[in-house]
């Protein structure tokens, strides 16, 4: 049956927003649940205050692998990043798993030593730590974990009111593009997904590349539609 109504840019934007919200909802929900579980398990371990990196890894591993195995959204990496000075044996520590056959990330053994990168300055750690809220960082080049162009979903972990670290998961922009582009392209109009600082995540318009800033460009003046549950917006032209 042929429909005689025309799809307006606003309708397209709403549909696109729904697609994006749906894509991120499961990973975000799973990550926030993990943050709560980790808080409970860390407190229950009874060893809190005397935890070693090995013990922490043992606690985090099943959760990390669980998140990576989430169906639909292709989670590339996941884990827990300890608050500075939390552990008995290491001042900085990432309990992180990533890759197709998830392996634990070993920073000191990388050909470019990353062990001395101060992760407390990085947005996905700093913001949850400072705000006490979950945060979606990126897209950005994740030179610490994935080494790729990434979006990181992060949630702080607290025991009572004490900040003990950040639970996180990585989604590669490459995967997001492969999964969302076909769905967004079906909507007809040119759809661009941007983050909270106006950086393009994905666009069905080949003139807008992931990583471009909308500031001062053709998209700067156009209306934006917020996506529910994730700090991303849609521009439809």
């Amino acid at each position: 049956m042929v429909t005689t109504t025309t799809t307006t840019a606003t309708e397209t934007a709403s549909r696109a927003a729904a697609i994006v919200s749906q894509y991120f909802s499961a990973p975000i929900a799973a990550l926030e649940a993990k943050a709560v579980q980790l808080s409970v398990e860390l407190a229950a371990s009874g060893r809190f205050g005397e935890l070693s990196s090995q013990q922490l890894d043992g606690l985090v591993e099943p959760h990390a692998l669980n998140i990576i195995a989430l169906p639909d959204a292709r989670v590339y990496g996941a884990g827990f990043i300890a608050a500075i000075g939390l552990l008995t044996d290491e001042r900085h520590h990432l309990s992180w798993w990533q890759g197709e056959e998830p392996k634990r990330l070993l920073l000191a053994a990388q050909s470019v030593n990353k062990e001395h990168i101060d992760y407390s300055e990085l947005e996905w750690f700093r913001v949850p730590m400072e705000t006490g809220q979950g945060h979606v960082a990126g897209p950005y080049v994740d030179y610490l974990c994935s080494d790729e162009y990434t979006i990181t979903v992060a949630a702080p972990v607290h025991i009572d009111t004490a900040f003990v670290g950040v639970a996180g998961l990585d989604l590669l922009i490459d995967s997001i593009e492969r999964q969302l582009l076909p769905q967004l392209a079906e909507l007809g109009d040119k759809v661009t997904v941007i983050n909270s600082v106006g950086r393009v995540v994905v666009s069905t318009d080949p003139h807008h590349a992931a990583g471009d800033a909308v500031r001062g460009g053709a998209l700067a003046e156009l209306a934006r539609t917020a996506c529910d549950g994730v700090a991303l917006e849609i521009i439809a032209a």
């Binding site: 197709e100 056959e101 053994a109 050909s111 300055e121 080494d147 590669l172």
Partner: protein, 267 residues
């Protein structure tokens, strides 16, 4: 010769490994199992592991007194047998780079006397002006390409983050100074939004870093480098890609000049 050289894998095994990696790593955006997490292949494995660890130690990336990952972890990371790791640790012990302690808190540790500055001086004396200038050319080209993109793509809040870290720098701890500057440089180039360029720049930064410590040791040269890096940040913040490139080239030229000067004094 750089104290922190990349690992060489024999050609045949590399080709086979690459094909296998392509199939395995379909989750990665068409990139081969990268150099940053590279499996070491066939012959001379122990020597390759030894070289990589020695490079990390002499380059200051594994610090004096620092505990190495366990033999098991190292074996898994490098994709070699634990006996191979043990062999390389033996060699590192005999070179005086590593000590092994037994008991509860045992393990292998970087020796307390491992001094990256001393190693950097030796490396500088052992290299040629040609090699230094070529390293400079490579480093300059990649870093400039990154800051050009960063100038176009960075948002104000990101650049302010970089600037605030630079403002907090304190020259009283030169180890910390170099660490932080390396971090800031990498954060700045990552604002290019290019994973490839950032990865390459990180490798080059690791090569340059030990020698940049020699520049850090002199107050005048150190301050000049710092001021030049600030100019790069200013240009990126202003969105001026030409100025960012020019400032980067000036900064690297100046660094190479200082190094060549230092080098000529040791001869």
């Amino acid at each position: 010769m750089s104290p922190f050289e990349p690992t060489d894998v024999s050609e045949d095994s590399a080709a086979v490994a690459d094909d296998a990696a392509l199939v395995r790593d379909s989750a990665r955006p068409g990139r081969l199992q990268g150099a940053l997490f590279q499996s070491i292949g066939d012959a001379g494995r122990a020597e390759l592991v030894e070289r990589r660890l020695a490079g990390a130690i002499t380059g200051g990336h594994l610090r004096a007194g620092e505990r190495l990952p366990s033999e098991y972890d190292l074996a898994r990371t490098f994709g070699v047998a634990p006996t191979t790791v043990r062999e390389s640790l033996l060699a590192l012990r005999s070179r005086g780079l590593v000590v092994t302690r037994r008991g509860r808190n045992g393990g292998s540790f970087v020796t307390e006397s491992a001094d990256p500055v001393a190693h950097a001086r030796t490396a500088l004396a052992g290299t040629s002006r040609l090699a230094l200038r070529d390293l400079g050319a490579h480093y300059s080209a990649i870093t400039a390409a990154c800051v050009r993109l960063a100038a176009r793509r960075a948002v104000p809040s990101e650049v302010q983050q970089v600037r605030s870290r630079l403002n907090r720098l304190d020259a009283s701890d030169l180890e910390q100074w170099r660490s932080t500057l390396d971090d800031v440089q990498i954060e700045l180039v990552s604002l290019s939004q290019s994973a490839r360029l950032t990865r390459e720049q990180m490798r080059l930064q690791a090569e340059m870093s030990p020698m940049l410590r020699l520049i850090d040791a002199d107050e005048t040269s150190r301050s000049a480098q710092y001021a030049q890096l600030l100019s790069v940040v200013d240009a990126v913040e202003a969105g001026d890609d030409h100025a960012a490139v020019a400032a980067t080239e000036r900064m690297v030229d100046a660094a190479i000049d200082v190094l060549i000067n230092l080098q000529s004094r040791t001869h």
